[in-house]
Amino acid sequence: MDVELAKPFIKAAVDVLSTMAFIHPKVGKPFVKKNNTATGDVTGLVGLTGKQSGSVSLSFTKDCAVAIVKNMLGDEIEDIISDVKDAVGEMTNMISGQARAGLAERGLVFQGSTPTVIMGDNHTIAHLAKSPIMAIPFTTEAGGFTIEFCFE
């Protein structure tokens, strides 16, 4: 039931970004990708294991990632690269945690790995599973980001 798994992540993304970074994302229309790569400028990736295993990624455009850092740290940015990396990792961790708690309440227990953050303009990363990937685009005032799910 992939659809059932996706909803808590959407809710968690909206909740976490609006509380922690004061960014209010709008959910776009989900679609399916045939290839197993995620594209973006900054990506946080978490592996999930449980009854099913798979991976969830959050890929931010550069503008969106920078906006998150600015909103979280204000004027205290020291090194934008490491701060962006840190913030996206933290966001991914919180979103993964909150979503997993939501899923656990439905009896779907998952263990999550520590997020990996990948940076680089327009990079690609591979998801673990071979099944189709569900991508959910979000728009914010500061640029877009995409959540992708891939479950065996």
Partner: protein, 527 residues
């Protein structure tokens, strides 16, 4: 005295212990006190979360209380009961859930109710799932489709077909919706002749992702879909013949090869493109009949088709094949030269190894190897000759040209091994140092590693990352904005080419093509 008496005044550690015990014992006596704790939380996040867990455990043993709770005035308790009913598949909850679903206007709560109904999988919920097939939230629609598929609701078949057909509309086909994906999976799970026939017809869907999902679904269904695919092969147009051949090859069942050989014997593979796909499929399956058909294919004259024959035989080398090929190679005819070239260019090392023993065949192969300009191919066979050993092999190694790197570099991506080999031969012939990859992702890896290319040739449909996405990514890479890209395609539909042109393809070439045609196109593009 109840376990939860005076709970709020207890120490944190005691509270945790008590809640853990309840979650373990699932004792119903604690239900009223737990519900009170849920409705009036103590305010500590961890304790409140554990209350939910304990309540979930207790409710799992109390179907009647759970069903009653679904109409409770407290929204949190209501949702908890709805989830518990779904998690434990409480059948008696379905009528209440159905009425809740019918009245619910909030999409998030509706999703909760429908999720539980889907898990309970009671046919009584069918009308609700059908009703929400036209909901505006794609997740709700996708969930309903999943549930209808799970319940094998044949009444929804027409609607599901419509979802797939509508997704081919000119303004929609560029994106594969999750509803289209779920509709394909549901129809595939029905496994009736009607639904499978429909999916076979849609193998030619305008969207490459949908085509891939249908192909994957058929491959996993296997046997039941083989007769339908064979019928589609016999009655369909060239594109359909190619697509069905591919799927039959992936399924890999003996019946696939037998059917394809029968169709071949009926003269249904006149088109060289179809024969190419058919030989590739036969190579994948590898039955006796299929191999005989491949051996007959050794008389093919088209370079590309011959490479798919040789590529197929390479996987099933046997004494019969070796005897036949040795004879053909040693005959010193035009066909011997073509065959030798095909063995070398497709890097068929197992065949080479077996054929080399025959001196005449060995000579023909080494001659073809000597005129090859592909350093990787030459290296590969040089290594093989060294392993074979002996004075004849040593002499032949000495005859091989020294490898030299081409000044210009070219990249080719294709999931067919023989197409890759063909591209490589053409590109090295033109003096390029050729890089080949079985899919867009691996092709792009070369670019990410910092390789610079003067020309790129790519297939349209490939696994992992298709040609369209590869082109998009290349065009977004600094330094590759103007690199000529040729897309090789069998698609006759203009819509696909439009999409590819928009993505940034410089020129197209349609399979089948003669090596000279691709050479001319490359020379035209790089001036």
């Amino acid at each position: 005295m109840g376990t939860l008496d005076d709970f709020r005044n207890k120490e944190f550690l005691d509270q945790i212990t008590i809640l853990n015990e309840i979650a373990g014992s699932k004792d119903s006596a604690n239900l009223p006190a737990l519900v009170d704790l849920l409705k009036n939380p103590v305010g500590d996040t961890s304790i409140d979360y554990m209350v939910v867990n304990a309540l979930n455990a207790v409710l799992s043993q109390n179907e009647a209380d759970t069903v009653a709770g679904m109409n409770d005035s407290h929204p949190g308790y209501r949702i908890l009961c709805i989830r518990v009913a779904g998690e434990y598949g409480f059948k008696s909850a379905s009528s209440t859930l159905v009425s809740l679903a019918e009245a619910e206007a909030d999409p998030d709560r509706l999703m909760e109710v429908l999720t539980s109904l889907a898990r309970i999988a009671d046919p009584a919920a069918l009308p609700v799932f059908r009703k929400y097939l036209s909901h505006e939230d794609p997740f709700i629609v996708a969930l309903c489709i999943e549930a209808l598929g799970k319940l094998r609701d044949l009444e929804s078949v027409d609607y599901l077909k419509k979802i797939i057909s509508d997704s081919e509309a000119p303004d929609r086909y560029e994106i594969c919706d999750i509803t289209t994906w779920k509709a394909v999976e549901a129809l595939a799970s029905f496994d009736t002749e009607d639904t499978l026939t429909f999916l076979v017809e849609k193998l030619h869907h305008k969207n490459p992702t949908v085509r891939r999902i249908i192909t994957d679904a058929m491959t996993s269904i296997g046997s039941p879909v083989i007769p339908l695919l064979l019928t589609a092969f016999e009655t369909g147009d060239t594109d359909m013949k190619i697509l069905t051949s591919n799927v039959l090859g992936f399924i890999g069942d003996k019946a696939c090869a037998d059917g394809l050989v029968a169709a071949f014997d009926k003269g249904l593979a006149e088109d060289s493109n179809v024969r190419y796909a058919l030989y590739e499929a036969l190579g994948r399956v590898g039955t006796m009949k299929g191999i005989i058909c491949l051996v007959d294919g050794l008389t093919e004259e088209d370079e590309l088709t011959l490479m798919s024959v040789v590529g197929g035989l390479e996987k099933h080398v046997n004494p019969g094949i070796v005897a036949k090929l040795s004879g053909l190679l040693a005959a010193a005819t035009d066909q011997s030269d073509r065959l030798a070239k095909a063995v070398i260019n497709s890097g068929a090392v197992s065949l080479f190894d077996a054929l080399y023993e025959n001196e005449g065949a060995g000579m023909a192969l080494v001659e073809a190897l000597c005129v090859s300009k592909d350093p990787t191919i030459i290296d590969q066979f040089r290594q093989l000759l060294a392993d074979i050993g002996g004075s004849r092999a040593d002499d032949d190694i000495a005859r091989l040209p020294a490898p030299e790197a081409g000044a210009q570099k070219a990249l080719a991506a294709d999931d067919s091994r023989s197409m890759c080999a063909m591209h490589k031969a053409i590109l090295t012939d033109l003096g390029f140092e050729a890089f080949v990859a079985p899919n867009g992702q691996e092709a792009y890896d070369f670019i990410e590693q910092g390789e610079d290319f003067d020309i790129i040739v790519t297939d349209m449909n490939m696994p992992v990352m298709d040609g369209m996405e590869l082109v998009g990514k290349i065009r977004n890479t600094p330094g590759f904005e103007d690199t000529p890209i040729i897309m090789v395609t069998t698609e006759s539909e203009a819509s696909q080419q439009n999409l590819a042109e928009k993505t940034g393809v410089s020129a197209f070439i349609t399979k089948p093509f003669k090596p000279e045609e691709l050479k001319a196109k490359i020379q035209e593009l790089i001036g």
